[in-house]
Amino acid sequence: MTLRGSRFWALMSLFLIALPFALPSDYYLGIATHALVLAILALSLDILIGQGGMTSLGHAVYLGLPAYAAAWTMQNANWPPELAIPFAIAMGTAVSALFAVLSLRARGLGFLMITLALGQVMWGAAYRWVGLTGGDNGIRIPVRPPVLGIDISSVRSFYVVVALALMVALVCIWHLERSPFGACLRGTKDQPKRMNMLGHDVWSIRFLAFVFAGFWGSIAGVLYVFDYLYVSPSSLSLPQSAEALLMVVLGGAGTLTGPVVGAIIITVIKTVVSSYVDRWYSLLGLTFIIVVSVMPRGLVPGLKAWFAPKEGGAR
């Protein structure tokens, strides 16, 4: 990572602080909020992909499941958000631990397929278990409730919450990458056999990474349901998982800025560009193809190599 510590943090903070002032209206700030929530999801997925080399195609589970848990406990069991939020995060994390045990039996494409299959099972359950989930009608939260007595109902106040969560996520993931654990995780990606010989328990390292990703995904999930005030099976569907994966790969796996950039670009294509381009769906597909072909490691590393050719494109 060539991100020179302090400058990166200063720029990122400045960006998040400037955004509400730079954007012309609450509508655009709302879109920025959507993008940042998904950026947290993409960052959590990148722990698996960028650090651990495990490509998951079922990560929307950790978006949708905690969203359902929070919505259900608040709407149907009348829990206060202070209780519902930790419960939802705990539940998402617990499920990630369970799914880690199942998924980690396979590697590479097997891992991708099993995460996909588990995601489809969760989607099917959400769709069909009408008594619990409301089926395709989903669960609504009429008004964004105050949390710890703080009113977050306005677009601006909620943006602050999401921006803070993103900063915390970035700091935690940054620390993870620089920690001995992070080094081990990257080791399991590149040299699993050697790691094993060195006495590292590869399975446990991968398991912890999976659960850590599930934890941050669950935080994105809780923010997601507080953002949209609605959750339905589409939140944990395969297209949602694929979208998260595309955000990571588009921006650049294994970087801190990549998933954030990817989340912003895809959200902008889906919400802003689609208002002006009828065939935005094709455009989205074309964007993947071009970025993956031209910059196989993603936009952020690709652009860096572009502007700093002397480094030879190597990180």
Binding site: M113, A117, L118, R128, L245, L246, Y281, F288, I289, S293
Partner: protein, 286 residues
């Protein structure tokens, strides 16, 4: 008793259809180590192209072959133009196929609109066949027969021809294949053509049952995935057995456990991946 007979027939007929869908998917998966996520899109495109040909008066079987060739040609172009440059970057290749599937879906919608386009079966195969007092659609039995013929043809191709030997070698060990002088890139083109051809052909053959409609691609792709996971990647017998297995699980599963209809295919997939990740006939260790 009748329940068991007719659902068995349903399972076999559906298995035949699924084999036509997934044989090409399995071949490409086995050789190139990537799930071609555009396979559902190619299948749908085949159905639309076949329907268009038939509207122009082309007979059914010719339309099926024409659609297969057209989709096969498209597959070859995509492989040569996009995927080959990404050799070694499997994740990138998967994403490119996903991008292609988006574009195919959108362009099909643009070209043929949103309403379903029916494909009529050949007239002689349309009437139901009466078996021991109940009716069964004649066309579905024809699909089953056709699938078995295709399976036989593919088996002969893989086992008895030079190309087949090269493909098998490539599936088993790519490095070894290259070191004995097989031009892997040309082989990839051939396999991609064959896989896409089968997808396009299958789209038309399946058309009278499924028809062509937006969303056919995303409905079919997961089925191909399940077949290949159960049967094993890159194995022709695996694809055949996997197809019939999925047909049986789907038909009996939804009939006996209707509450599990939405997850009936993915639960076995999870179990198989956990217990035997290489599938029943898998030769590739993943």
């Amino acid at each position: 008793m009748q329940f068991w007979i007719i659902q068995t027939l349903n399972s076999l007929a559906m298995g035949g259809l699924l084999f036509l869908l997934s044989a090409g998917f399995s071949l490409i998966f086995g050789l190139m180590r990537i799930p071609n996520l555009a396979h559902g899109g190619l299948f749908m495109l085949g159905a639309y192209v076949g329907a268009m040909c038939m509207q122009w008066g082309v007979p059914f079987w010719l339309a099926a072959i024409a659609a297969g060739l057209a989709v096969g040609a498209l597959g070859t172009v995509l492989e040569g133009g996009l995927l080959r440059r990404m050799a070694g970057n499997e994740q990138g290749q998967v994403l490119i196929t996903l991008g292609i599937s988006f574009i195919i879906a959108d362009l099909c919608l643009l070209t043929w609109g949103g309403d379903p386009v029916p494909l009529d079966a050949p007239r002689m195969l349309r009437p139901p066949v009466f078996l021991a007092g109940f009716a069964f659609p004649g066309y579905r039995l024809a699909v089953l027969a056709f699938a078995l013929i295709v399976a036989l043809g593919l088996w002969l191709l893989l086992e008895r021809t030079r190309l087949g030997a090269m493909i098998r070698a490539g599936v088993d060990d790519r490095l070894m294949a290259r070191s004995v002088g097989i031009r892997v890139s040309r082989l990839f083109s051939a396999v991609f053509f064959l896989g896409a051809f089968l997808a396009g052909l299958g789209g038309v053959i399946g058309g009278p049952i499924l028809s062509a409609y937006p969303g056919l691609d995303t409905d079919m792709l997961p089925l191909a995935l399940v077949v290949v996971i159960l049967g094993g990647v890159g194995s022709l017998p695996g694809a055949l057995v996997g197809s019939f297995l999925v047909g049986i699980i789907y038909n009996f599963g939804t009939a006996l456990f209707p509450d599990f209809a939405y997850v009936i295919l993915f639960l076995p997939m999870v179990v198989m991946l956990v217990v035997k990740p290489s599938g029943l006939f898998g030769r590739v260790t993943r």
